[in-house]
């Protein structure tokens, strides 16, 4: 249904529909409305869609002031400027003050492509995840985003929306039932659990196909809400498979891998392999090039899964009875 449709177009369409029926909703940009696709909203809602200029700090606190006045503002910028640049405004004006502001970060991780390293946030989830009370949502496709938008508005509190802005392969269909706080089982399996978010979900779907050819039955779960993470889904899947791979378009420190490991270390320790950005900055290149360079392709996910399964079958818990040092990290 949404093949070849850009996520930003879907986002601004849905936001427009919501603004039409809910006068509390406001759209604030910091000179990136053209990038976000929200420029058109200004004609439709001249009072409630406006620009603060290149001033992200002000945008965040103005939004908090509007929220204190009863509005529900959506603010947006590229991910690094919607998170690390305005970390204190997000922490104090918005989250500490419990203001209902929705923060949209565009072009997460390597998807900043030709804007390069300065615009590639490898740490935005880490920054936002460590702020108490922040919800972090990363839609995987247009259908999920459409289903999520009303829930995001309905939820009374700050949410960080990590938004890939171009077209993505469809994962979900019309009958998809969305729950902001529940992970999606995309494929059930028994041998290894793959937890994936954002653009890495489609990479993981391909990896599952390759694994099936090798006789490996992988379980694929989409973690669309990284905080608060669906703890039950993570533990139940890990208990079933005994081996876990995380796939994220983010530094493996501070993001999905960290979130999954925090749960498993406490409640059900198993081997975990991380596929993602291995603690370095980004650079100018297209996504496919960077996926290959940073070892984030389906083949890399397969390798990680096979290694995890091998350790499991060799009986190396790695936590209490390992005879050789773990090479996990």
């Amino acid at each position: 249904m949404y093949e070849n449709v850009e996520m930003r177009q879907v986002f601004s369409n849905e936001l427009g529909k919501i603004m039409e029926r809910d006068e509390r909703v406001v759209c604030i940009d910091a000179d990136l409305a053209r990038a976000q696709g929200t420029l058109g909203l200004r004609q439709q809602f001249p009072d409630r869609a406006f620009d603060v200029g290149v001033a992200e700090q002000n945008m965040a606190s103005v939004a908090a002031g509007l929220a204190a006045y009863g509005f529900i503002p959506f603010i947006g910028s590229f991910t690094p400027f919607a998170t690390r640049r305005i970390c204190d405004q997000v922490a104090i004006s918005i989250t500490y003050a419990k203001r209902n502001v929705k923060i949209v970060g565009l072009d997460p991780g390597i998807s900043a492509e030709l804007n390069g390293g300065t615009h590639m946030s490898m740490e935005d989830i880490g920054v936002m995840r460590s702020i108490p009370g922040m919800v972090i949502f990363e839609p995987v496709d247009c259908m999920q985003l459409v289903k999520a938008m009303p829930e995001i508005v309905r939820y009374d509190g700050p949410i960080y929306i990590r938004l890939f802005r171009k077209a993505v392969p469809a994962i979900f269909h019309e009958d998809y039932q969305f729950d902001l706080f529940k992970a999606d089982l995309i494929k059930a399996g028994t041998d290894v659990s793959i937890f994936a978010s954002g653009i890495m979900v489609s990479q993981a779907v391909s990896a599952c196909e390759i694994l099936r050819g090798k006789g490996i039955n992988a379980e694929l779960i989409n973690i669309h809400t990284i905080k608060p993470i669906d703890r039950k889904a993570v533990i139940e899947s890990a208990r079933k498979t005994g081996a876990v791979v995380t796939c994220e378009n983010h530094n493996i420190i501070g993001g999905l891998n960290s979130a999954v490991c925090e749960i498993l270390a406490e409640d059900f320790p198993v081997h975990v392999k991380a596929v993602g950005v291995k603690d370095h900055f980004g650079e100018v290149a297209k996504i496919d090039y960077l996926l290959a360079k940073y070892k984030m392709t389906p083949g890399d996910i397969v390798d990680a899964a096979v290694e995890c399964i091998n350790r499991k079958t060799r009986g190396q818990s790695g936590f209490c009875s390992s005879s050789e040092p773990s090479s996990n990290h």
Binding site: N58, S61, A68, Y69, Y96, K98
Partner: protein, 274 residues
């Protein structure tokens, strides 16, 4: 302004100073200087100018106040207690564990506080957001906010200033508590603000300089003038004295930003303000 109204506001200012220094003194330490320098502005706002109802702290269409220099919370708490937003005895819990009156203003914890502040520069932007919100709603309310002179070194203040002018937020009235000191020294020695009035003008604001920021009549007249603005926000620059009205605090000068207060000093201050 009638003489009896002036006398009332002058007396009230003395009372608010008393409550403020008493609560900080009982704790033994606090932001004495910046609390005492802003008392008259708070008194004129809360006892004369603002459309508020302490019995209905969340009343729609009320005027709002944002203490962007959030460390002056204790002076504002004294005003709110005196106005009846909460019991005056709560002032004795200032900055103690589980208090509803933390050192910096917190809208979640304290009845009557319109916005959380403490990380400097942010409250001012929040006030701008509220003024924009009032314009969207068309509820004709006014938003008042106080920024510190040291706080005016924050870049965010000037981001917000440009945006407020662009949006023609004439319902926004700001005050600069220009007491000439910040934590590390004199403002002019650290990073000077002069010419401060010209800066605000250049950023598209109407500016009124109040020569004596402790003169309630002069403050009230400035607010009256600011209310007439048709298309611009107004910044009222208050020339104030840090620690005003308490001799040991005034004498402490630059060290009165966050200072210890002994029991003897607390009692002496209450006598001075009797």
């Amino acid at each position: 302004m009638k003489e009896n109204e002036i006398a009332f506001l002058v007396d009230k200012s003395k009372h608010i100073r008393r409550l403020t220094i008493d609560s900080i003194g009982k704790l033994g330490v606090g932001h004495v200087g910046g609390c005492l320098s802003i008392v008259e502005a708070l008194v004129v706002l809360y006892y004369k100018e603002m459309n508020i109802n302490p019995q209905k702290p969340d009343m729609a269409g009320r005027d709002r106040f944002v203490m962007s220099k959030g460390h002056a919370g204790p002076a504002l708490y004294a005003v709110l207690a005196d106005k009846g937003y909460f019991e005056a005895c709560l002032l004795d819990t200032l900055n103690r564990p589980e208090t509803t009156l933390p050192s910096h203003c917190d809208m979640i914890r304290t009845k009557g506080i319109d916005m959380t502040a403490g990380s400097l520069g942010q409250g001012f932007s929040c006030a701008v957001g509220m003024a924009k919100g009032s314009k969207i709603k068309g509820d004709n309310s006014r938003i008042y906010t106080v920024v510190g002179d040291g706080e005016s070194q924050e870049g965010q203040i000037w981001e917000a200033a440009m945006f407020a002018a662009q949006q023609k937020l004439n319902n926004l009235i700001g005050f600069t508590d220009y007491n000439k000191f910040q934590l590390d020294g004199g403002i002019s020695e650290i990073v000077g603000l002069e010419p401060l009035d010209m800066k605000w003008k250049a950023f598209g604001w109407d500016v009124i300089v109040v020569q004596d920021g402790h003169d309630v009549k002069e403050i009230a007249e400035a607010i009256g003038k600011a209310r007439q603005s048709e298309a611009k926000p107004t910044m009222i620059i208050l020339n104030t004295i840090k620690g005003k009205g308490v001799s040991f605090a005034e004498a402490a000068g630059v060290t009165n930003h966050n200072m210890p207060v002994t029991e003897e000093q607390r009692i002496q201050a209450l006598k001075e303000l009797a």
